[in-house]
Structure formats: structure tokens, C-alpha cells
């Protein structure tokens, strides 16, 4: 494992710890289901990033072993991360008919990992999931959803790829996606980009009304 990969991996871990911190902060503020889920999700994201570093060491060859064509611990866990996010979206949207779809199609995708060296089906499916999250997030102006969309991209960067990609390109993409995940989960995106104009107008008019009353007095 090169120093370059290790240092970038540690940056990813730090970013995921920040995600965990912000999700816990959100949960302390409001103990709704979404925040509770985000705490567990950020925790699993952190564990995943740590596990990835552990797997890279030569002593952990048992953990990095791959069964069949591409069925290895890290790839399977990255699949599970995306599928949990998709399951959460389905639950959030109350699409009851699709409740079992992520699990069932996940099994099919894991089987394809075992059977064929080609991961086009998996990448294609997860890119569709990314677009779905992004579209829905932009439509509803939800920063958390945009963050989850980039978790999908983040996990996609752990898929098997040519050596050059795995060593040079993917670590940078992981950091970039994790930064957007952090921005989404921390609420910065909601505060700075998705400003609720109606709410802002209400606050502004309330302030103007107050000023008028003060002046009149």
C-alpha cells in the first residue's frame, strides 16, 4: 500500500467521522427517524472506510480475498451501503410496492459479482440510483438526499477497476464525493444553496412589520 493511498484513505476516514459528528448533532436536535437512520448510516460509512484501509495491508489477505469473479468483502460492503440508501429512499417515499426491490435486486447483483467479471450491470444500476437520488434531492431541495446521492458515487469508487484507476483516480474521487456527502449531511447545502424563499420572505416581512410598529410607537 503506497503512502499516497494511505494518506488519502485517512482523509476519507476523517471526513466520514465529521459526517458522523454532524449526523449525531442533527439527531440530538431532532430525534426523528431520518436523523436516527443517518447516525447509523454515517457510523457504517466510517467503519467501512476504516475497514478499507485495514484490507489494504498485506497481512489482511484473508479479508481482501475474492470469491468467484469479483465477490470480495469491500465490493460486497459497498453494494450493501448503496442498497441500504436505496431502501431508505423507498421507505421515505412510502413506495410500498417497492419495499422488497432493493433487497431482491441486491441479491441478483451480488450473484452477478460472483458469476461474471463484467460489472457493467452493477455500475449501471447504481448510476441509475445516483440519478434518482440527485433528481429527487434537487426536486425536493433536500441536502441530505443530495448527500446520499454522493454516497452512491463514493461507494462506486470501491468497485473493481484497472490498477491505475484504483491507485490514482478513485482515491481523489472518494474524497470529492465524501466532501459533498459531508456538505449534504451537515446541513450546509440546505442553508446556503436550497434556501427556502417562502420562509425567508415570511421572516423578512415579520422584521419589516416589527420595524414599522417600532417606528409608529
Amino acid at each position: 500500500m503506497s503512502l499516497y493511498t494511505l494518506s488519502l484513505g485517512i482523509i476519507v476516514i476523517v471526513l466520514s467521522v465529521f459526517c458522523l459528528f454532524f449526523s449525531i448533532k442533527n439527531w440530538m436536535r431532532s430525534k426523528i427517524n431520518i436523523n436516527q437512520f443517518l447516525v447509523f448510516y454515517a457510523l457504517s460509512l466510517t467503519i467501512f472506510t476504516v475497514l478499507y484501509i485495514i484490507v489494504q495491508f498485506p497481512n489482511a489477505s484473508l479479508l481482501s480475498a475474492s470469491i468467484g469473479e469479483n465477490f470480495s468483502l469491500i465490493v460486497v460492503l459497498s453494494h450493501i451501503l448503496i442498497l441500504i440508501a436505496l431502501q431508505f429512499l423507498v421507505y421515505l417515499k412510502n413506495w410500498k410496492m417497492l419495499y422488497t426491490f432493493p433487497m431482491i435486486f441486491g441479491v441478483i447483483l451480488l450473484m452477478s459479482l460472483y458469476l461474471t467479471p463484467n460489472i457493467l450491470l452493477n455500475v449501471g444500476f447504481f448510476l441509475a440510483v445516483f440519478v434518482l437520488f440527485l433528481y429527487d434531492g434537487l426536486k425536493n431541495k433536500m441536502g441530505v438526499e443530495i448527500g446520499l446521492a454522493f454516497v452512491v458515487l463514493f461507494a462506486l469508487n470501491y468497485f473493481p477497476a484497472p490498477h491505475l484507476f484504483e491507485e490514482l483516480v478513485f482515491p481523489i474521487f472518494r474524497i470529492l464525493s465524501m466532501v459533498i456527502v459531508l456538505i449534504g449531511i451537515s446541513g450546509i447545502l440546505d442553508k446556503l444553496v436550497f434556501i427556502d424563499k417562502e420562509k425567508e420572505a415570511k421572516i423578512r416581512s415579520a422584521w419589516i412589520a416589527k420595524r414599522v410598529i417600532v417606528k409608529e410607537q
Partner: protein, 221 residues
């Protein structure tokens, strides 16, 4: 004493009769069920999903029988082309798999298990995607057997619990159909298989005509 040759001849004869019988009976069943579905749609304005699913199940069995008839009784289709004895997706296994999958969908729909309405369909079409993508489906036959037995059990349970003639009818139909799939077509047991084919086709017709009514007053607890 009956010789091996006579049994083989009797078996071939019964199997052949069974195929002709099945093709006629299933044509009738499909027509009757389609007419009933259309009539229902005209009366209520909506498509009755239970009728549609039952038509789907019988339509799949009809498809299997057409393939068997064309392959074994006519020179139109070679036996290898229908994939009668292969473990992967074939014209024959596709129909069989879809029939048992629709059986599960029907059971979920009757029991109002909304999250599970399409679970079996997702899995089946996932297997189909995997087949086109990876060239193998790996677990198609275990899936067909497990899903078939599950569908049969669920239909039987639903039929008895809700005193539903439709669910119980499909369960009995599946049970006899499974016997014909499990039994080999050769030798003495082949004769039993041929008889079972005749029985389940006849039962299908009785069911489609609406004469299968073990519960006079449907609707249990």
C-alpha cells in the same frame, strides 16, 4: 404378463393423448378465463386483478403445453429447441417459472400483503436479467421448485382460511401439475405421469367453468 414393450407403447399412447387433450382443454380454459375477465371489466369498469393473475397462471401453463405439443407431436419444433430438460432459462422453463411466480403474486394479492405484491416478479425478472447478462441463471430450477411449493402452500392456506374457492382451486391445480413435473415420462411411472396430465387438465377446465366450489359460502374468519 405385461412386457416392457407393452408398457412403453401404452405410455407413449397415453402421453400423446395427454398432449392432444391438454392443448384442446387449455385453449378452452384460456378463452373462458379471457371472456370472464372482459365481462368483468365491462360490468365493473375495472380489471379484476385476481382474474388477471389466474389467467396469467393458466396462460403460462397453456404456453408450456403448446411447446410440448409442437415438439413431441409435430415436426414444427425440435425437442431441443424448447429446452425441456435443461437447467437454465429456455422457452419451456420461462413459462414454468412465470407460472409459479404469478402463483406467489396471487397469494400475496389475496392476502393483501402490499409490500410483497411484486417480490417474486422482481426476483424472477432479476434472474432473467442475470441470464442475459452472465449467460447463466445458476438457481433457476431451485427457484422454480421452492417458489412452486411455496405458492401451493400459500394458496392452500389462503383457500382454507378465507374459504376462497379460487385460491383453493389454484392450489389443487398446482399440486397435480407439480406431480407431472416431478414424475419421469418413461417406464411404468410415465403412465402415472400421463394420467396426472389428463387429470390436471380436466381439473383446470372444471375450475375455469366455475364448478369447483367446495365452499358454498365463501369468506372465513
Amino acid at each position: 404378463m405385461i412386457g416392457q414393450n407393452s408398457i412403453s407403447l401404452l405410455n407413449d399412447f397415453l402421453q400423446s393423448i395427454g398432449r392432444y387433450y391438454a392443448i384442446v382443454i387449455y385453449s378452452l380454459i384460456t378463452i373462458i378465463l379471457t371472456i370472464r375477465l372482459i365481462k368483468d371489466k365491462k360490468e365493473s369498469g375495472n380489471i379484476n386483478l385476481i382474474r388477471l393473475l389466474i389467467l396469467g397462471v393458466f396462460g403460462c401453463v397453456y404456453w408450456i403445453n403448446i411447446l410440448e405439443f409442437l415438439a413431441f407431436e409435430t415436426p414444427i419444433l425440435p425437442v431441443d429447441a424448447i429446452g425441456f430438460q435443461i437447467n437454465d432459462f429456455s422457452l419451456y422453463n420461462f413459462g414454468l417459472g412465470l407460472a409459479v411466480t404469478l402463483g406467489i403474486v396471487l397469494a400475496a394479492y389475496i392476502n393483501q400483503l402490499k409490500p410483497f405484491y411484486f417480490t417474486a416478479l422482481y426476483f424472477y425478472f432479476g434472474l432473467l436479467v442475470l441470464y442475459f447478462y452472465a449467460g447463466t441463471s445458476l438457481i433457476l430450477l431451485p427457484y422454480i421448485y421452492i417458489t412452486g411449493i411455496t405458492a401451493l402452500t400459500l394458496q392452500m392456506y389462503t383457500g382454507l382460511k378465507l374459504k376462497d374457492n379460487g385460491a383453493l382451486g389454484v392450489a389443487v391445480f398446482f399440486a397435480i401439475a407439480f406431480v407431472t413435473i416431478l414424475l419421469p415420462e418413461e417406464g411404468v411411472i410415465g403412465v402415472l405421469d400421463a394420467l396426472a396430465t389428463l387429470i390436471y387438465a380436466t381439473f383446470g377446465l372444471i375450475f375455469a367453468l366455475g364448478y369447483f366450489k367446495p365452499f358454498k359460502e365463501p369468506g372465513g374468519k
